[in-house]
């Protein structure tokens, strides 16, 4: 039962973050946690709605009113139980989820939403601090073996859940460390990498084996892997980037955002004393005039990284029109998620966002990009943009980072080796997680296409339930495990 008058008595405050001018000078986490009493005050604002739209809007079905109330009462331990009851990795979502729950919060109608994400993060951090988050190995082993390819949020969630019910799980990761885009796409400013390591250590302690630097389909034979396991889960994400099909895209200095971010994240790891492979060819924004194309989270992360590298000038070009006050276009009324946020951490640190701006072509000098040709456009859908006559402009640039999304998972290698059927968009066709190949499943972006981390976790854990059901009803084809 909530405090019925909390929202009338407490105003929302901003989540604590380090001053932009200060933080842009380092790569450390920028977000903090409110003091205990303030958090509890913020939790009081939750109204425990008869119909909690937050609970519905959260892909995980997080029991938001329930843990808000527990935080209000200071019952952190129980709040943690409620949080883990739907979310395997609240420390990830607590930092980098775009929080559709807050957009759907009833208080978002004519007031400010409850700061759900901040409370979520506070609960899990408190849990770690207090030592409440401990490995819980399963009581018994089923004797079934499961291979999971990809250690992004979907793969990790599937691994955690399948392990919990007693299956023997091995996770295969192509890169040198776990986390997928959480590690290599998201800057440390938003998610420091030890947070991923901390969770993975728990999963290892629960009995999951992780194998890094193994590209299944290249380093090991995919069909063999499938034969060796009762189930294989393809959780390789949707990593083929959407190309910007305009003249000049091939020029040097025009790069996919992810190529840049991978490098930046590895660089930070190395700078912090970690180990990571060196880039074949460095992409740097230092002292350069940078244009980021695409106004989503990845674009923002590029902006933030470029600022930290010391770019001389960064601009973010977004084809969508200006965000209306309150953040909602008419076709995304409450409780739907707005398509764009009004502001982001990256913009606070520097750089400019240009709305309704479309890049038409690049021009280069000596094979290297030098100029952007663009124009103003109107319209709310990327498929129906209307150029504004006479709005053409050019802009001098040294580096262009293209962050306009991903198309589908990589087909070469694993998918081809397993001969998996694809859907019309090029994703693995796996309606209820089972692919066209018996014993092979898909989860996360590889199955659904590019999406949010919170969807990936949800997809991974749901896949695990259905795979478990199959494993329990079908006889194993394998020899009994030793």
């Amino acid at each position: 039962m909530a405090d019925p008058r909390g929202f009338l008595e407490v105003r929302r405050v901003p989540a604590p973050e380090r001053a932009p001018r200060e933080r842009v000078l380092d790569h450390d986490e920028i977000f903090g946690v409110l003091p205990d009493d303030e958090l509890r005050g913020q939790a009081r604002r939750c109204m425990d709605c008869g119909v909690p739209f937050c609970n519905n809007s959260c892909p995980l079905g997080n029991l938001i009113p329930d843990w808000n109330d527990l935080v209000r009462r200071g019952q952190w331990r129980e709040a943690l139980d409620q949080l883990h009851a739907t979310n395997n990795f609240p420390e990830f979502t607590g930092l980098i989820c775009p929080a559709p729950c807050e957009s759907a919060c009833v208080l978002d109608i004519g007031d400010d939403a409850v700061m759900i994400k901040q409370i979520e993060y506070a609960i899990i951090e408190r849990g770690f601090e207090e030592g409440w988050v401990v490995a819980r190995p399963p009581h018994a082993r089923s004797g079934r073996k499961v291979a999971i390819v990809g250690s992004g949020p979907a793969g990790l969630a599937a691994a955690a859940e399948l392990n919990q019910v007693g299956h023997t799980v091995t996770v295969f990761e192509r890169d040198e460390a776990p986390g997928g885009l959480m590690r290599f796409g998201v800057p440390d400013a938003k998610l420091e990498k030890w947070i991923i390591d901390r969770r993975v250590a728990l999963l290892e302690a629960e009995g999951i084996e992780f194998r890094y630097g193994v590209d299944v389909g290249r380093d090991i034979d995919a069909t063999e892997l499938s034969d060796d396991h009762d189930a294989v889960v393809v959780a390789i994400g949707s990593r083929i980037e959407r190309p910007l099909e305009i003249p000049g895209s091939e020029l040097d200095g025009v790069h996919f955002a992810m190529d840049y971010l991978y490098q930046r994240n590895r660089a930070v790891t190395i700078a912090h004393g970690g180990r990571a492979p060196a880039p074949e060819r460095e992409i740097s924004a230092a002292k350069k005039r940078v244009a980021v194309i695409g106004g989503g989270d990845t674009g923002m992360d590029c902006l933030s990284s470029a600022n930290r590298e010391g770019a001389s000038d960064v601009v973010l070009l977004d084809v969508y029109g200006e965000v209306p006050a309150g953040g909602r276009y008419p076709d995304t009324p409450w409780p739907m998620s707005p398509r764009r946020t009004e502001t982001t951490y990256a913009l606070d640190e520097g750089g400019e966002r240009h709305f309704g701006t479309q890049v038409v072509s690049f021009e280069g000098e000596a094979g290297r990009v030098a100029l952007i040709n663009g124009r103003r456009v109107e319209g709310s859908s990327s498929r129906a943009l209307r150029p504004v006559p006479g709005s053409e402009f050019t802009r001098e640039v040294d580096l262009c980072l293209v962050a306009i999304g991903f198309t589908h998972p990589q087909h070469e290698g694993l998918l081809e080796a397993l001969d998996l059927r694809l859907d019309a968009r090029g994703n693995v066709a796996a309606g209820v997680f089972a692919s066209s190949r018996p014993g092979v499943y898909a989860a996360g972006d590889a199955r659904t296409g590019q999406s949010l981390i919170v969807n990936a976790i949800a997809d991974g854990r749901r896949a695990a339930r259905l795979i478990d059901r199959d494993l329990r009803t079908a006889p194993t084809a394998l020899a009994p495990a030793a």
Partner: protein, 1510 residues
């Protein structure tokens, strides 16, 4: 008899009753004539069926007119033995001669077997022309049979005749009825109206037919299934009322039969059984048991006291001996509980009593020429006022006994004292009865090793159970509150294994009997429960008191341990294991039930006096039997075996966790319940459920038990039941979704109308719950809900969410979920037809999945659809739409007016709800919008119900029940009452307002008829609607309402409802409208009453399909509530009761009201889309006009493809029974017959005062008045206010003097400028709704009596009065000035519950009051002359302080007494004023605390303003 959903067992009675006796004991012709005259004067209390010529029933009981019988037999050459030596049996035989002959032979054979001799048969002469058409179709052939045996006289002969009658009744079955069989009395009765009775039975007109006493009765029945034998009087009694505990009383009687053996009936008892023959009405059943007790050796007053005891617990104003008698009596049998005016006789004495709460009227008079007369209304007997020596009224629970032979009238407890003093009942009780504290203390066993969580899981607990239900109970000691109705899936359509309790819905009283206010009228309530074996009802021995009396039925581990450890033979306890082995699987449940019954038998065999049905043995290997099933199975097994009264049943279970669960267990026969897991959960409240306030574990337990106790009182009171003792086993539940076989075997007698799951289904659900705790025992790693919900494994460590009270994605399904709310808001904001299509699709497709019955129906599409353009236009369709009654107060001004404007724009109707309406809204806005609500609701609080309010309505709606909390009152918390709302409600800002559970002017169907009449007078142009809630029997209630002259009936579904109530009420009372509507349609069509009334239904109407299904099931109209609110921005927060609605819909907080963003366009857009949807469906059905849809249940069939495993067992055939009768209309086709043409206003008052009305002249007039003149002044007031507005005419414009006994509701809503002065007396409801007029009542000048000792006014005077003044020079009945909010009144003494719920005005009582004065009084001031200094004992001081009047208040008091003297000539007032200094000190000022605080606040504000201005 059943047909579709129509079931004759649901019928109810109301009526007028009268009795008359000669105090010289001499038989007189005049007695017969006067009695019949009175009956005719009470005719307006009876009813006629669809066939206006057939009455519901009338009858007369008289002493056998020996001279007459002797003479008519002598004419045939037969000779009778001396008086008192022969018996006369009146027989209703078949009209078919052959048939009759056979029966007569059977009867004669029985006569001789009983050692009697047949003297003669006599055809009773009847005049068929006097009876109605339908009545004649089923009329019996009436014959008198004379029998005798030499030497047999007196009581011995009566007993022999009684045995004879039962024997022939048993042998002849339904084909014979024997209305009387006695040597002392004879009954003439039939399916007749009062005037028809003497014309039909020509005997009654014979001058030789004489008697010294008579009882007459005219019946108003909700049923129309013709019956001659159910007319009253019965053999010993006539009854106006209803026994709400009937089912329990019947099963307990059946259970007792095996033990009956003592007393003068001796071995004959066996031949009388069953004591209550099948098919008897409640009144007939009461009569049967009363007669058994009397013939079994008790005196008539004794038997009545045993069956309907006065409320005696905790009462210090009852003589000790009487209280002790009742205490002892409670050990023998449970009370027959319900509103009742009982009149009874054994042919020698005549008596009468009322139920413990005085819910029926009874006025009596004694004349100086030897008459004693009693009737439902004063004035029914017409006596010369000069001859009256005493007038009085029956008192709650008190006996009045007249012994004509001795010339005694015993009205002052003499009769009770005589009974109570006959034996040392007090000593017997004191010596033998046991209380918990008499038992040695004992330690409960340690709780088992099993974790609490595991057991909670196994019993199906959810997190909501802990944090929504249990924690608030532990913290506040009361049940938590909720709002916005119950839109969750029905248990039978739920996928979440709800407990068996959820399949049972509480029944509630509506119309035919009142619910009770268990808080304000706690004085009549009792929680006391009795455990242990019963003795022989026909015996009277000290040891029969050897039983354990509990203060309440909820006990804890320690209490149970005490019972088990008690060294008392009668409490020898035997546990019965209510679990079954998991290995036995689903099939094991049936075996386990058999074993339970065998164990129970063995326990009794071994001498057990207490059987403990316990599921303590639950563990990994043993599954708990649903506790209600285990208990009911044992109870009914023992009832059937005739051994039930040999032991008490106690339930020890981990399953019950809310008050509804406890109520169900008691309702099915448990004397006590130990909800051990509930209490254990408290002591180890984990995490989130922990109350904010730190509690000692022991304190938490007692608070939870207190909360359960309060909740139980509420549940029984909503059925009009006062005591747990009579609730026990009364089975006042309806099952929804259980298979008939299961019901028949284990819940015998419970209605269950749509079939459902059986034992295997229940077993399956129990096993699934068990697997939550121990999935591994079921071969799984995760419990089903986690596995199937695709939830993380960590979820299994928690209890399931529940999701009943607030939606959760993984919880119970709801009709309103985030998707539907968002989709509808998008429709309302004009997102176009695609958006509506999306909304409609979501709602319709998911209706079945979301647990709606209509989701299981399929429409029969026409092969030849109608072109859409030929279907009647949208504008016609929306006319059939209205919004539900949602008050300003619950809703914000903005939301309330937005609804009104939207509905007016559509040409549809909005409903004020309860709470008045600002008259500024009666005029259109400049843009043409009208903020006036077309429907004005009249609810039990009568807030703001003034004559002006009533006049400005198109429809007046009497809200009997509402879907969210049928049978309950309401509360508007102080924080929702701002200055504006207080003004409209005539109350005080910030002071909580209480709506009583019942309308205090509707205790019966004839009362409803009267209120409808009153409202017609107040606004003859408006239609009158009556809002009922769906439950079993609502169809028969609706039939009664139609006969009571309503134009419009609303059947509200359980799932609708926006009001605030306790969560268990929202969840557990009422049924879906689909069932209630269908039952109503079938009943009304069958009885040809449908043509007279329009039917509306409501309850989560959302799409065109919902509307069309409602129409097909019989609705002329539909009501929408939640959906228009959602269209206007409501997000189903369900916090309406907290005043914190974040979207400004249901709040009075100015800050939040600013957030309201709804517009009339949104509602209009949505409802037009629904109407268009309706048209499209009509086209697809080939129907062009809406009216052609109505009642076409043949266009519906059960959906073919039903996925749900439980839903597959449902049987909708009775629901979809097509009520089709060639000559009976299926929809409203005509209006009611006019009733106002013969009113005194119409005939006399208005013509006489027309110059005052039209020209403002001063008019005085005088008229004779009689009790048949009802609502005098009503039409006149309506006329005045319609012409002159709320301020009416200047005071003194119209002065009317009336002489005689005025009928009910004199001066109802009397307008300013009118004064009525009655010389004589008035009946019930005088000054109801008084709106500025003046009512004065003074004794007739020629009366001999001293006014102050005699009753001059009936019950419930000034109910809901808002302004004006009233003066009564004499005593008034119960509930004087109830819910008065502004009138000033003086009276010289009142009955119980005076000034109840009063919120304003002034009341002066110049004499004694009854008990419970000022209960719930939150405003106004009362002054009581406390001459004996004992007034303080009779006040309910919960809300008021007692003070001494001084200063301005004293002046006010004296002025009122002065006006009283002036207007009534009161000698009491005269004496007081003559020596005011002496008098004033004897007054006690009754001052509500909240009111005083509010006055002080406004004084301070005023002074501050004055100070600031200075």
């Amino acid at each position: 008899m059943r047909d579709g959903l129509y079931d004759t067992t649901n019928e109810h009675d109301g009526c007028g009753v009268a009795a008359l006796a000669r105090l010289d004991g001499r038989a007189s012709r005049e007695t017969v004539e006067r009695a019949i005259g009175a009956l005719i004067n009470l005719e307006h209390r009876g009813a006629e069926g669809a066939d206006a010529t057939s009455g519901d029933g009338a009858g007369i009981l008289i002493q056998i007119p020996d001279a007459f019988m002797r003479a008519v037999l002598a004419d045939d050459g037969r000779e009778l033995p001396p008086p008192d030596a022969y018996g006369l049996a009146c027989c209703f035989l078949p009209r078919d001669e052959d048939h009759r002959g056979k029966l007569e032979a059977v009867i004669e054979e029985a006569v001789s077997e009983e050692g009697l001799e047949t003297i003669a048969w006599r055809d009773v002469p009847v005049d068929d022309r006097a009876a109605g058409i339908r009545a004649l179709e089923v009329a019996p052939h009436v014959r008198h049979l004379f029998v005798a045996r030499a030497g047999l006289t007196g009581d011995a002969l009566e007993r022999r005749l009684y045995v004879l009658r039962r024997v022939i009744e048993r042998r002849c079955g339904d084909e014979l009825a024997v209305p009387s069989c006695s040597a002392r009395t004879v009954v003439y009765k039939g399916m007749l109206s009062a005037p028809q009775l003497p014309r039909f039975y020509t005997d009654l007109g014979d001058s030789r037919v004489a008697t010294a006493l008579a009882i007459v009765h005219s019946r108003f029945s909700t049923n129309t299934f013709p019956s001659w034998s159910l007319a009253h009087p019965f053999h010993m009694s006539a009854h106006n009322g209803e026994f709400n505990t009937l089912l329990g009383n019947k099963s307990w009687m059946r259970a007792r039969e095996a033990r009956l053996s003592h007393g003068p009936l001796g071995p004959d008892v066996g031949r009388l059984l069953p004591a209550i023959a099948p098919g008897l009405s409640d009144s007939a059943a009461f009569d049967a048991v009363l007669e058994l007790l009397v013939k079994g050796g008790r005196s008539l007053p004794h038997a009545v006291m045993l069956m309907t005891p006065e409320a005696h617990e905790g009462r210090n104003d009852i003589p000790q001996a009487i209280r002790e008698f009742y205490e002892y009596g409670s050990m023998l049998m449970e009370p027959w509980d319900g509103p009742a005016s009982l009149t009874f006789t054994d042919g020698q004495i005549l008596g009468a009593t009322l139920d413990r709460n005085g819910l029926r009227p009874g006025r009596w008079a004694i004349t100086d020429d030897g008459w004693f007369a009693l009737s439902s209304e004063a004035g029914a007997f017409r006596f010369d006022p000069a001859r009256l020596v005493r007038v009085g009224r029956l008192l709650p629970g008190r006996l009045l006994i007249v012994d004509p032979a001795a010339g005694h009238v015993l009205s002052e407890r003499e009769a009770e004292l005589a009974v109570a003093g006959a034996r040392p009942y007090g000593a017997w009780h004191a010596e033998h009865s046991l209380r918990m504290e008499d038992l040695p203390d004992a330690e409960p066993d340690d709780p088992p090793e099993l974790a609490l969580r595991e057991r909670q899981l196994a019993f199906g607990w959810s997190q909501e159970d802990l944090c929504v239900l249990l924690a608030p109970m532990a913290r506040d000691g009361k049940e938590p509150t909720g709002s916005m109705g119950n839109d969750a899936a029905l248990a039978i359509l739920s996928e979440r294994q709800p407990p068996l309790f959820s399949y049972f819905k509480q029944l509630f009283a509506q119309v035919t009997n009142p619910s009770i206010d268990p808080v304000r009228e706690q004085v009549v309530m009792s929680l006391s429960s009795i455990i242990g074996p019963e003795g022989d009802l026909l015996d009277e021995a000290p040891e029969q008191a050897r039983r354990l009396v509990l203060d309440g039925p909820v006990i804890d581990d320690r209490d149970l341990a005490r019972i088990v450890a008690a060294d008392e033979a009668t409490l020898a306890a035997r546990p019965l294991d209510a679990t079954w082995p998991l290995v036995a699987g689903e099939a094991g449940l049936d075996d386990a039930l058999d074993r339970l019954c065998r164990d129970a038998d063995a326990g009794l065999e071994a001498g057990a006096g207490v059987l403990i049905v316990s599921d303590r043995a639950v563990d990994r290997e043993r599954v708990p039997i649903p506790s209600l099933l285990a208990l009911a199975c044992v109870h009914h097994h023992l009832v059937r075996s005739g051994t039930r009264t040999r032991a008490g049943l106690v339930v020890e279970s981990g399953e019950p966790r809310e008050v509804h669960h406890i109520a169900a267990l008691i309702g099915y026969g448990a004397s006590a319940v130990n909800p051990y897991l509930m209490l254990e959960s408290l002591t180890a409240l984990e995490g989130r459920a922990e109350p904010d306030v730190e509690l000692e574990p022991g304190e938490a337990v007692s608070r939870v038990i207190a909360a359960l106790d309060k909740g139980l009182l509420k549940i029984l009171s909503k059925m009009g039941i006062s005591t747990i003792h009579s609730y026990c086993g009364a089975q006042v539940f309806e099952a929804v979704g259980l298979e008939p076989g299961l019901i028949e075997r284990h819940f015998t007698g419970t209605p269950s109308r749509i079939g459902g799951i059986g034992l295997d289904g229940l077993a399956r659900e129990a096993l699934t719950r068990h697997a939550r705790a121990w999935p591994d025992a079921h071969g799984a790693v995760l419990p089903t809900h986690v596995e199937q919900g695709l939830l993380p494994a960590a979820h299994a460590r928690l209890l399931p969410q529940g999701g009943i009270y607030s939606w959760r994605r993984d919880g119970e399904r709801h009709m309103w979920d985030p998707e539907t709310v968002a989709a509808l808001q998008s429709v309302a904001r004009g997102a176009g037809p695609e958006a509506y299509a999306e909304f409609k699709h979501r709602v319709n497709e998911e209706n079945a999945a979301h647990g709606m019955l209509r989701g299981l129906m399929e429409l029969h599409l026409a092969e030849d659809p109608a072109p859409l353009e030929e279907v009647e236009p949208v504008a016609e369709v929306v006319r059939r739409f209205s919004t539900g009654g949602m008050s300003l107060g619950s809703l914000s001004h903005e939301a309330h007016e937005t609804l009104a404007v939207a509905m007016n724009r559509l040409g549809a109707r909005s409903n004020t709800g309860e709470g008045g309406e600002d008259r500024r809204r009666f005029e259109p806005d400049p843009n043409g919008d009208l903020r006036r609500s077309a429907i004005k609701q009249v609810a039990s609080g009568r807030f703001g119900v003034t004559i002006d309010y009533l006049v400005n309505a198109d429809q007046l709606q009497i809200k009997i029940s509402q879907g969210s909390k049928p049978g309950e009152g309401g509360q508007l918390p102080g924080h929702k009452i701002d200055a504006e709302i207080a003004r409209l409600r005539h109350s005080t800002e910030g002071v909580e307002l209480i709506s009583p559970p019942p309308h205090h002017d509707i205790y019966s169907i004839e009362d409803l008829k009267q209120l409808i009449y009153d409202l017609r007078c107040a606004n003859p142009r408006a239609s009158v609607s009556v809002k009922l809630a769906a439950e079993v029997g609502v169809g028969t209630v609706a039939a009664g309402v139609a006969k009571a002259n309503a134009d419009h009936i609303v059947i509200a579904g359980h799932d609708g409802g926006t009001g605030a109530s306790s969560l268990s009420s929202i969840q557990s009372a009422g049924v879906p409208w689909e069932i209630g509507l269908s039952e109503t349609q079938q009943t009304l069509v069958r009885n040809d009453l449908r043509s007279r009334v329009a039917i509306q239904t409501d309850g989560q109407m959302r799409t065109g399909r919902d509307v069309v299904i409602a129409a097909l099931l019989g609705a002329d109209e539909v009501g929408f509530s939640t959906a228009p609110l959602v269209a206007a921005g409501c997000v189903m927060m369900r916090v309406c009761h907290l005043n914190t609605c974040p979207v400004g819909v249901a709040t009075q907080d100015p800050e939040l009201r600013r957030r309201f963003a709804g517009t009339p366009e949104q509602i209009v857009t949505y409802l037009l889309a629904v109407a268009e949807d309706v048209r499209e469906i009509m086209a697809s059905l080939g129907v062009r006009r809406y009216e052609e849809l109505i009642g076409r249940a043949d266009l519906l069939s059960p959906a073919a493809a039903v996925e749900h495993w439980k839903a597959r067992d449902l049987d909708l055939s009775s629901l979809l029974t097509f009520a089709d009768s060639p000559e009976h209309a299926r929809r409203q086709t005509r209006g009611q017959e006019p009733v106002l043409d013969d009113s005194l206003d119409h005939l006399a008052l208005i013509p006489a005062t027309s110059r005052a009305i039209s020209h403002g002249e001063h008019v005085r007039a005088s008229f004779e008045v009689r009790n048949v003149h009802r609502t005098v002044g009503g039409l006149l007031s309506s006329e005045i206010v319609r012409r002159h507005g709320p301020d009416g005419l200047p005071e003194g414009s119209i002065e009317i003097t009336l002489s005689g006994a005025a009928g009910q509701s004199l001066g109802a809503w009397l307008a300013p400028g009118v004064s009525l002065t009655v010389h004589g007396m008035v009946n019930d409801y005088a000054g109801k709704g008084l709106s500025g007029g003046i009512v004065s009542v003074r004794p007739h000048e020629e009366c001999q009596f001293y006014a102050r000792e005699n009753v001059i006014a009936g019950n419930v005077a000034l109910y809901g009065a808002t302004s004006g003044r009233a003066f009564f020079a004499g005593l008034a009945g119960e509930r004087f000035a109830v819910r008065n909010s502004g009138a000033l009144a003086v009276v010289e003494g009142v009955g119980d519950h005076g000034c109840e719920y009063m919120t304003g005005g002034r009341v002066v009582v110049l004499g004694a009051t009854g008990v419970n004065f000022a209960a719930g009084m939150s405003g106004g001031v009362a002054w009581v002359l406390d001459e004996d200094g004992d007034f303080a004992y009779r006040v309910n001081c919960d809300l008021v302080d007692l003070e001494t009047p001084d200063g301005a208040r004293e002046v006010e008091l004296r002025d009122l007494i002065g006006e009283h003297r002036a207007r009534t000539g009161s000698t009491v007032a005269d004496h007081l004023l003559a020596d005011w200094d002496a008098a004033r000190g004897r007054f006690v000022q009754v001052m509500p605390r909240a009111y005083r605080a509010a006055l002080e606040r406004s004084d301070r504000a005023l002074r501050a303003n004055v100070g600031a201005a200075a």
